[in-house]
Amino acid sequence: MAILTANSVTKRFGGLVAVDNYSFEIEENSIVSIIGPNGAGKTTFFNCLTGFYQADEGDMLFVGQRLNGRTPDQITRMGIARTYQNIRVFPAMSAIENILVGQHPRLKANWVESIIGTKRYKQEEEEAEEEARRLIRYVGLTGLGDQLARNLPYGAQRRLEMARAIASQPQLLLLDEPTAGMNPHESAEMMHFIKQLRDDLGITILLIEHDMRVVMGISERISVLDFGTKIAEGTPVEIQKNPQVIEAYLGRGAAAGISEASTETATN
């Protein structure tokens, strides 16, 4: 069953068409990637999905409900969470506080209750903090909960951002270049972690990624964007052999050379 459907989504910035007539479907509980050269429109598409931009044309449906025209906070409350290309944790807040903010959609007590200190409020806060600590351990940041987010090393900040994203218990998680800046070992761990998220928590995952090992390693389907248009879609094997994809990334000459080589290795 499709959890997210995008139909002919178009986003323009003046004369520049950043996303052009893009249609895409994601099955529930799957891991899907969007790839493409820099500037292809991938993050712009994410921003349309999350309500940061309003799409000019086309619809986006999440579990049957229209996303168009909704504000980002509404979309998050519907069950979509995201991380950012250039990690945007809240720098002057501690790791725990970051995750507590992530839990915002799930907390019910209001501010008056917090002043009075009602039982429900206290209990909710206690549970929220426990949950936050569990998430800290889950992503491997044990002991760093009270550190300010800006003092954490790069890799830790990435993991914090992910913890914050899953804190709202989303059904769909959008990850924007989760392995940027990581070495092969860390990328492999991240791959494993993403699979774990899907397997343990039942979250559907949509990735933007440049690292092909990661993309090919965990994606069930891949959609390829170039200059805003979809140039290919399919399984990792299909995409690897697709000449237009190769041309988009490596140029026409390479396309010819690689398609020869891959016909030999594809016998695995």
């Binding site: 999350t50 940061f52 504000t71 980002p72 906070d73 998050t76 409350r77 995201r82 950012y84 945007r88 809240f90 720098p91 002057a92 807040m93 501690s94 725990i96 506080e97 507590l100 903010v101 992530g102 915002h104 959609p105 007590a109 501010w111 917090s114 002043i115 200190g117 409020y121 806060e125 206690e126 903090e129 426990e130 949950e131 600590r133 569990r134 998430l135 800290i136 351990r137 889950y138 992503v139 491997g140 940041l141 044990t142 002991g143 760093l144 009270d146 954490l152 090393p153 890799g155 830790a156 993991r159 709202s168 860390e186 492999a188 761990e189 494993h192 972690f193 774990q196 343990d200 928590l201």
Partner: protein, 578 residues
């Protein structure tokens, strides 16, 4: 690095000139002469002399710090030279004053000043004495900087203690007399100044206390840190109770004059708590905050005044909630148009709003209702059980009540979900929205609650003054409150009180400085920003102590905890909420 070992005479030259120019400026504007006769230590040191030689002393101290480290005597030379050079501008002034009628150009260069600068010995001999004294001061400051810390710090704090007691001698002696009688005062003070023996004793006591704190202070701190969370909470609650008890008996200790000062401090602190929410927590730069203060004050006036403009003749207590409500409404009214604005634009619009309210208060349009430039008069004081709270000592409790309520609400909200919403919004508005936070509600709540506190403060203010005029509600108040929370530490609650003490309390009790009060205000601001830009009491102390404190096993680095594919322990990585 090599250069620091070479003798560089430009350093004492530079520092000396700076010191000299500062001392010259202070002399020329008249502040030195103003205090030429004001003794700090009777018969020995006057405030004027301290002000004059403060810059040379400080600069010599710093210059000595820049001397080549390996040669101790170099520091002394630097200090001596700095002091000597600092005297030169003053000597030039003295010589000039002897030749021409300098008062035509510099009206504040009075004979009293010259008298002080020359130590009463006439121009030529005096100039020489000035040179020698300045050089000596430079030398001594340099020597001070060379002392090991455990001697230097107590000495400096000792001097500071003597200075403070001498400065505030009037207030202290009045209090002393209230408690212990005139004889006790005469032991310590002589007229406005300290008796020399008393000064020495105070120096010794302060120095000893400092030394004691240096020895024991860390131990006390670490003992506190190592307590169990439960005991820590007990200590905290205990200190809180003690603090509140102290606050309750404060008027008895302070007497009427100081109670009045504290009332002013607290009224501003109440506003500070409100602005702290808007600017410190939510990050919304509001420069028109005085508007809500005015709304609260005028509402109180209209409702309770027994004069012509009063409409209801209500009692203070009934009127307060109404004032707060109307001010809150004002806050929402301001908040709505500015929801999309950020940074500078928000500042400008809020500034405009503040001015609109002031101009309305001043206007002829509203004059029939709120009095215009003539003001709103005959506002009643609050009445409890039949007695009107007229004395500052009694009125204090009303203000204290307001401050405690505001502090409590601020504290609770800062620890709660709303506080986090505000912080997230301040840090990164777009991401906060992506976390599911409704920006509209969050911003409006900040404006509303901030305005409510200002309204409460205004209502209390109106009742305290019993008559209010539009010129009291100008932009300087907004700026003053903003400076207060910056100096105290934005976002921090104790910081608000400290800021209020520094920027409202100090100018009040330093009335001696007369027309130089604003200069002092500016100096305090600049010094604070240079010394501690994060504020007196920054809110980095935000460690959340919880009863559910899981992370007892602190591990060094994330690499150790990374979700390892092969080696993970299935037990530890159970999903959070299945």
């Amino acid at each position: 690095m090599e250069d620091s070992n070479r003798f560089d005479l430009r350093i004492p030259l530079r520092y000396g000139l700076i010191a000299g120019i500062v001392a010259l400026s202070l002399s020329v504007i008249g502040i030195v002469a103003l205090f030429a006769e004001r003794f700090l230590v009777a018969g020995y040191i006057t405030l004027g002399e301290v002000i004059l030689f403060l810059a040379p002393a400080a600069m010599s101290y710093m210059a000595a710090g820049k001397a080549p480290q390996d040669k101790k005597w170099a520091a002394l030379i630097y200090g001596l030279l700095t002091g000597l050079i600092a005297a030169i501008p003053l000597i030039i002034l003295v010589l000039l004053a002897g030749v021409i009628d300098i008062r035509q150009f510099l009206p504040n260069v009075s004979p009293a000043l010259i008298e002080l600068l020359t130590f009463g010995r006439g121009i030529n001999a005096g100039g020489l004495v000035l040179l020698v004294v300045s050089g000596l001061i430079g030398l001594l400051s340099a020597a001070l900087s060379l002392l090991p810390e455990r001697i230097r710090k107590p000495t400096m704090y000792g001097l500071l203690g003597v200075f403070l007691v001498g400065m505030f001698s009037e207030i202290l002696s009045e209090r002393l007399r209230a408690f212990f009688g005139l004889d006790a005062v005469k032991i310590i003070f002589e007229a406005d100044a300290l008796k020399p023996i008393a000064a020495v004793i105070i120096f010794i006591i302060t120095a000893l206390l400092t030394a004691l704190w240096m020895e024991r202070g860390d131990k006390v701190k670490s003992r506190f840190e190592s307590l169990q969370p439960k005991q820590k909470t007990q200590v905290r609650s205990g200190s809180l109770v003690l603090g509140i008890a102290l606050m309750v008996i404060l008027p008895l200790l302070l007497g009427t004059y100081l109670s009045e000062v504290v009332n002013n401090v607290l009224i501003f602190a109440l506003m500070g708590f409100g602005l702290n929410i808007v600017v410190g927590f939510a990050g919304l730069l509001d420069l028109g905050y005085v508007a809500f203060f005015a709304i609260g004050a005028y509402t109180m006036g209209i409702l309770t005044s027994s004069g012509d403009l009063g409409v209801a003749g209500m009692s203070f207590w009934v009127a307060v909630p109404i004032c707060v409500a109307i001010a809150t409404f004002g806050g929402i009214l301001l908040g709505m148009p500015v929801l999309r604005m950020r940074g500078d634009y928000l500042a400008i619009v809020t500034l405009g709003f503040g001015e609109i309210i002031r101009i309305l208060a001043l206007s002829d349009l509203l004059k029939p209702y709120i009095g215009g430039a003539q003001g709103l008069l005959q506002i009643d004081k609050p009445v409890i059980f039949g007695t009107a709270l007229i004395k500052p000592d009694n009125f204090y409790y009303v203000v204290l009540g307001g401050v405690i309520i505001a502090a409590f609400i601020s504290y609770r909200l800062s620890q709660a979900r709303l506080g986090r919403q505000w912080m997230a919004m301040r840090e990164d508005e777009d991401v906060a929205e992506a976390m599911g936070i409704k920006l509209v509600n969050t911003k409006l709540l900040a404006f509303a609650i901030g305005a409510a506190f200002a309204g409460l403060s205004g209502a209390i203010f109106a009742s305290k003054l019993t008559s209010i005029f539009p010129h009291s509600f100008n932009i300087l108040i907004s700026i003053n409150v903003l400076c207060m929370i910056i100096v105290g530490g934005m976002g921090s609650l104790p910081g608000v009180i400290l800021g209020a003490l520094a920027l409202v309390g100090l100018p009040e009790i330093l009335r001696e400085f007369a027309e130089f009060r604003l200069l002092m205000y500016g100096v305090i601001l600049i010094v604070m920003m240079l010394a501690k830009p994060e504020g007196f009491w920054p809110s980095a102390v935000r460690k959340r102590e919880l009863h559910v404190y899981d992370d007892s096993d602190y591990e060094e680095f994330p690499e150790a905890n990374a979700p390892r594919a092969e080696t993970r322990d299935p037990g530890m990585h159970t999903p959070p909420h299945l």
